[in-house]
C-alpha cells in the first residue's frame, strides 16, 4: 500500500498563498492578543501558574448551582470571585477563582474562606479531600514566566547554532523562523479561542517546537542531498522535488502523530485539554511550516544572493556527509 507515488506538486508556486494564509492567522492572533492586553492585561489568558491567585476546584455530590454558590461566597464577604462549571457536567465540578493577592501572607486565607463559605451557606455536600487548590503568589508566577521564556529562547539559539554547523547559517535561520511562526500561530490560537496558558501548555509548546524542527530538518536534509547530486538543477525545482520526495514520510508521520494527540484531546480529560489543544494545532502548523515557510525562505535567500552574483546554497552540500 502506498499513498504518494510519483507526486509532483509545485509547492513553491503556492508560496504567495502560503504567505497570505500565514499572515492572516498571524495577524488575527496578534490583534486578538492586543485586544486581550488592553482588556485583561496579558496577551493570552494565563492560568494561575503565571498570573497568581487562588483557584479552588470543588466536586459536589449534586449538580452545582452557580448562582447559589456565588451567593454563598458573597455572604462570606469574598468579592471578585469567578465561578464556572468545569469539565464534564456529569462530574458536578466547579472552579472558583480569586484574583491574585498582593500580599503573600494572605495566600492561604482565600482557600479557607471559600471552603468555610461553602460549608456554611450552600447546602450541597462535597468531599473535602477531593478539593484541588492552587494558590500562587505574585512573585513565583512572575519568576516562572520569565524563566520559561528564557529557557525557550536559549534552546532555539542552541538549535540554530547546530544547524549552522551542519548545514549553513540560512538553514538555521529559516528553521528557527519557522518555529517562531508556529509558536506565534499556536499562541494566537489560544488567544483567539480564549484558552488559558498553563505550565503544561508551555511543555506542549516545547513539544511542538521540537516537532516542527524535526519536520523542517527532514526536508532540509533531502535538499542538501539533492544539491550534492545535481548541481545544475534550478533551486526552486530542486526544492520542490525534495519536498515531493519526502511527502510520503511527512504525511505519514504527521498523520500518525496527529491521530495520537487528537485521541489525547478527545479522551484525555479536562486537565490535559489546554495541553492537547496546543499539540493538535501545533502538529498541523509544524508540518505546514516546513513546506510553506522554511523552504520558500531558503529559495528567497538564494535568489536574493544570486541577485548579488553569489551562489550561496550549494556550499551547504559540502558540509553534510
Amino acid at each position: 500500500m502506498e499513498f504518494f507515488r510519483g507526486v509532483n506538486v509545485n509547492w513553491l508556486g503556492w508560496k504567495w498563498y502560503f504567505l497570505a494564509f500565514s499572515m492572516i492567522f498571524s495577524v488575527a492572533g496578534i490583534s486578538k492578543m492586543c485586544w486581550n492586553w488592553s482588556h485583561i492585561g496579558t496577551p493570552v489568558p494565563l492560568s494561575v501558574d503565571f498570573r497568581g491567585g487562588t483557584e479552588v476546584y470543588v466536586q459536589f455530590v449534586n449538580r452545582p448551582d452557580s448562582e447559589a454558590i456565588r451567593k454563598a461566597i458573597d455572604a462570606a464577604g469574598i468579592n471578585d470571585a469567578r465561578i464556572q462549571n468545569y469539565d464534564d457536567p456529569r462530574l458536578n465540578e466547579v472552579l472558583i477563582s480569586l484574583p491574585r493577592q498582593s500580599d503573600e501572607s494572605s495566600l492561604d486565607t482565600g482557600r479557607q474562606q471559600i471552603v468555610n463559605a461553602l460549608h456554611s451557606h450552600y447546602n450541597n455536600p462535597f468531599n473535602d479531600a477531593g478539593i484541588k487548590v492552587d494558590s500562587v503568589g505574585a512573585t513565583v508566577g512572575h519568576q516562572l514566566e520569565s524563566q520559561a521564556t528564557r529557557a525557550v529562547l536559549w534552546s532555539m539559539l542552541g538549535m540554530l547554532v547546530y544547524l549552522w554547523f551542519r548545514f549553513q547559517l540560512i538553514y538555521g535561520v529559516a528553521a528557527v523562523v519557522a518555529c517562531f511562526h508556529d509558536t506565534l500561530i499556536t499562541v494566537g490560537a489560544f488567544a483567539l479561542f480564549s484558552k488559558e496558558i498553563s505550565l503544561t501548555v508551555i511543555a506542549a509548546i516545547l513539544t511542538l517546537v521540537g516537532y516542527s524542527m524535526n519536520d523542517t530538518i527532514v526536508v532540509f536534509d533531502r535538499i542538501r542531498e539533492n544539491l550534492r547530486l545535481s548541481r545544475r538543477e534550478p533551486l526552486p525545482d530542486l526544492v520542490n522535488r525534495s519536498i515531493n520526495q519526502t511527502l510520503s514520510r511527512t504525511v505519514l508521520t504527521s498523520g500518525l502523530t496527529f491521530i495520537t494527540v487528537l485521541s489525547l484531546y478527545i479522551f484525555g480529560g479536562e486537565v490535559l485539554k489546554g495541553f492537547s489543544f496546543a499539540l493538535v494545532v501545533g502538529i498541523l502548523i509544524g508540518t505546514y511550516s516546513s513546506i510553506a515557510v522554511a523552504a520558500p525562505m531558503l529559495v528567497a535567500w538564494q535568489e536574493f544572493r544570486s541577485g548579488k552574483g553569489k551562489a550561496a546554497l550549494p556550499s551547504a552540500a559540502k558540509r553534510g556527509r
Binding site: 503573600e104 484541588k132 512573585t139 536559549w154 534552546s155 524542527m213 500518525l256 490535559l272 499539540l279
Partner: protein, 542 residues
C-alpha cells in the same frame, strides 16, 4: 554473518532485560497487579499525577543576618569596654540594612587605637570604615560572609523542615532549594492532602529544651515507680517526671524516666547552631553548639553552678539525651556523653533543627486532591494507549511485514525510556509525558524515514539486501541531525529551566537516546534476520 547476527540479537535481548529490570526490579510475581506495584515503586510520579501538596517557601534570611549582627554589636560593646574605650552608642541604624553596624561617639584622640582594636577583632567578617559623622565608624558584614550565612540559613531551614515533615511519614518527600528565586525552598509531599496541617507543622516553633536533671543522673530510673520511690512519693512542685525516647536516653529500657527541673534552662530559640566534632584530648565524639548571647548569660550562670551534674535535652515532652556538665558554658560549648559518631551527627541535627533559623513566608501552595490526580492519569494513559495502538496497527497495514520491525522498535523504545526513568529515579510529571509523546512521534518518524528510503531504493531497482543497506545509510544522516538538534534543545531547556521544564527535557533526552538505538540498531538487526530467510531474488515485504 549468522554468528554476528546471533550476537547482535543477544545484545538486544540483554538490553531489553536490563531495562525491564530498571522498571520492575524484582517483582513479587508475574500477575498484572504485582507488576504494577513493582513499577509504582520504581517510577516516581510527580504531584500533578499522584496528588499531594506543593509548597514554595521563602526563607527570610535577613532575619538571620540581623541576629548575627546583633550579637556582633554586643561583642563590639564588650570589646570597647574591656579595651577601655568610650563610645556613645553601638546601633544598627537601618532596619533595611541588617548587615550594617554603626559605632558613634568614640574619643577623637583614640581614633587609631579604636581602629586597630576593631580591625583586629572583626576584620575576618566585617569591613571597617569611618562613619558619616565625626568620631563614628561602620562595620559592614562582608558580602561573601553574608552570602555564606544566607546559604547556611536556607540549609538549616531545609533540615528543620525535613525533620518535621518526616513525622508525617510521607513516602519520598521533596524538600530542596528552589532554584528559581533567591532563598526559596520547594516542598512537595505526595499523597498528603491536609494542607493546613502541613503548613502548621512547618511553621511551628518546635519545642526543644534543656532541663536540669534532678534525679536519675545519667541512667534514669527503671520506671515511674522507681522514680517516685527515690523521692519517697513526694515530687517537689518545680520538678517533673519525663519519659525517655530513643536509645540515647532509654538505654534499652523503654520505661526509663528522669526527674527534671520544670523550667527549661535553655529552649529551642536560644540555639544558634550545633555541629558534630571530636574532642581533641580524648578523641570522643562531641557536639559543639552556640547559643544566642542572652541565652549564653543564663546558661553560664546555670552550668557554672552545676559542674558534674547532668542535664537533659527534651523534645516533644520526651527526654532524648542526657549529658554531664563538664565545665561552665557561656554561649559556645560542647556536649560530651560517650556518643558514637552517628549519635553526635543526629544530636547536632536535633539541636539545629529544634528551631527555625528564620521565619518562612509561603509563596505558593497547591494541593492536588488524590482522586483528581488519579483521574488525570487514567484518562491520559487511556488516550496514549489508544493512540499508540492505532499507530502500531497502521504500521502493519501500510508496511506489511516490515511494520512489525517498527512496532517492536517502538515497544522497546518505551521499555528503555521507562527503564531509564526507573534507574535514574527521575520523577514523571505531565510535562514529562509530553516528552514521551514527542519521543513516540520522533520514533515513528525515524522508522518511516528508513522504510520510505528502502522503498525508494527498491523502486530504483536494487536487490533486497542492497536496498536495506542504502535505506539505512541514507536515513541515518537525517536521523542524526534531527535527534542531535532536539537533544541540544533539551539540554538548553534543562540548563535554564526548572521543575516541569526539566522533567520534559529529561524524558525527551532519554527517549531520543533510546530511539537512536531502537530505530537504527534494533530495526536493522530484525531486517537482517529477515533477509537471511529470504530466497535469492525475493524481495523484502515492505
Amino acid at each position: 554473518m549468522k554468528q554476528n547476527l546471533k550476537q547482535r540479537i543477544a545484545l538486544i535481548v540483554a538490553v531489553l532485560l536490563v531495562f525491564l529490570f530498571g522498571i520492575f526490579r524484582i517483582p513479587e510475581g508475574i500477575s498484572g497487579k504485582a507488576l504494577l506495584a513493582a513499577m509504582q515503586k520504581q517510577i516516581h510520579l510527580g504531584l500533578d499525577l499522584q496528588g499531594g501538596v506543593h509548597l514554595i517557601l521563602q526563607v527570610q534570611v535577613q532575619e538571620a543576618v540581623s541576629d548575627e549582627t546583633d550579637s556582633a554589636a554586643a561583642r563590639v560593646r564588650d570589646t570597647l569596654k574591656t579595651g577601655g574605650f568610650t563610645y556613645s552608642q553601638v546601633i544598627k541604624p537601618d532596619p533595611n540594612k541588617p548587615e550594617l553596624i554603626e559605632i558613634d561617639g568614640t574619643a577623637a584622640e583614640k581614633a587609631s587605637d579604636v581602629r586597630s582594636l576593631l580591625d583586629g577583632k572583626f576584620s575576618n567578617e566585617y569591613d571597617l570604615n569611618a562613619g558619616g559623622t565625626e568620631n563614628s565608624w561602620t562595620l559592614t558584614m562582608k558580602p561573601v560572609v553574608e552570602k555564606d550565612l544566607e546559604q547556611k540559613t536556607v540549609g538549616q531551614a531545609i533540615e528543620t523542615i525535613r525533620d518535621r515533615v518526616d513525622s508525617l511519614g510521607t513516602f519520598e518527600p521533596i524538600i530542596a532549594p528552589y532554584s528559581l528565586g533567591a532563598n526559596q525552598i520547594l516542598v512537595e509531599l505526595p499523597g498528603v492532602s491536609d494542607l493546613d496541617k502541613v503548613k502548621g507543622l512547618i511553621q511551628s516553633t518546635a519545642r526543644l529544651e534543656v532541663h536540669a536533671v534532678m534525679g536519675g543522673d545519667g541512667q534514669g530510673f527503671q520506671d515511674e515507680q522507681a522514680a517516685l520511690a527515690s523521692v519517697n512519693g513526694a515530687l517537689p512542685p518545680d520538678q517533673y517526671i519525663v519519659p525517655c525516647q530513643g536509645d540515647m536516653a532509654c538505654h534499652g529500657n523503654p520505661n526509663t524516666v528522669y526527674i527534671l527541673g520544670r523550667a527549661p534552662v535553655v529552649s529551642g530559640t536560644d540555639f544558634r547552631s550545633a555541629d558534630p566534632s571530636t574532642n581533641s584530648n580524648t578523641g570522643g565524639q562531641i557536639v559543639r553548639f552556640t547559643l544566642t548571647d542572652e541565652a549564653g548569660e543564663r546558661f553560664w550562670d546555670y552550668t557554672n553552678a552545676n559542674v558534674g551534674k547532668y542535664m537533659a535535652i527534651v523534645m516533644g515532652g520526651h527526654a532524648r539525651e542526657v549529658a554531664v556538665i563538664k565545665n561552665g558554658i557561656r554561649d559556645t560549648g560542647e556536649i560530651e556523653g560517650s556518643f558514637t559518631e552517628s549519635e553526635v551527627t543526629m544530636l547536632s541535627k536535633m539541636l539545629r533543627t529544634g528551631a527555625l533559623p528564620a521565619s518562612l513566608v509561603f509563596l505558593e501552595d497547591r494541593t492536588v486532591g488524590a482522586s483528581l490526580g488519579a483521574d488525570s492519569i487514567r484518562e491520559g494513559v487511556t488516550a496514549a494507549v489508544v493512540g499508540v495502538l492505532v499507530v502500531m496497527a497502521f504500521m502493519l497495514i501500510y508496511y506489511k511485514s516490515s511494520g512489525i520491525n517498527a512496532d517492536l522498535a517502538l515497544f522497546l523504545n518505551l521499555v528503555i525510556l521507562l527503564g531509564f526513568l526507573g534507574f535514574s529515579g527521575a520523577t514523571l510529571t505531565l510535562p514529562g509525558i509530553a516528552g514521551v509523546i514527542l519521543t513516540i512521534g520522533m520514533g515513528v518518524d525515524s522508522n518511516v524515514l528508513i522504510f520510505e528510503r528502502i522503498r525508494e531504493e527498491i523502486r530504483a531497482g536494487k536487490a533486497a539486501s542492497a536496498a536495506v543497506d542504502q535505506g539505512f545509510a541514507n536515513a541515518w544522516r537525517t536521523i542524526v541531525d534531527t535527534h542531535v538538534t532536539t537533544i541540544v534543545s533539551a539540554a538548553m531547556l534543562f540548563l535554564f529551566g526548572t521543575g516541569p521544564v526539566r522533567g520534559f527535557a529529561t524524558t525527551l533526552t532519554f527517549g531520543l537516546l533510546a530511539n537512536l538505538f531502537t530505530a537504527v540498531y534494533v530495526s536493522r538487526v530484525i531486517f537482517e534476520a529477515h533477509l537471511n530467510k529470504l530466497k535469492p531474488g525475493e524481495m523484502v515485504s515492505i
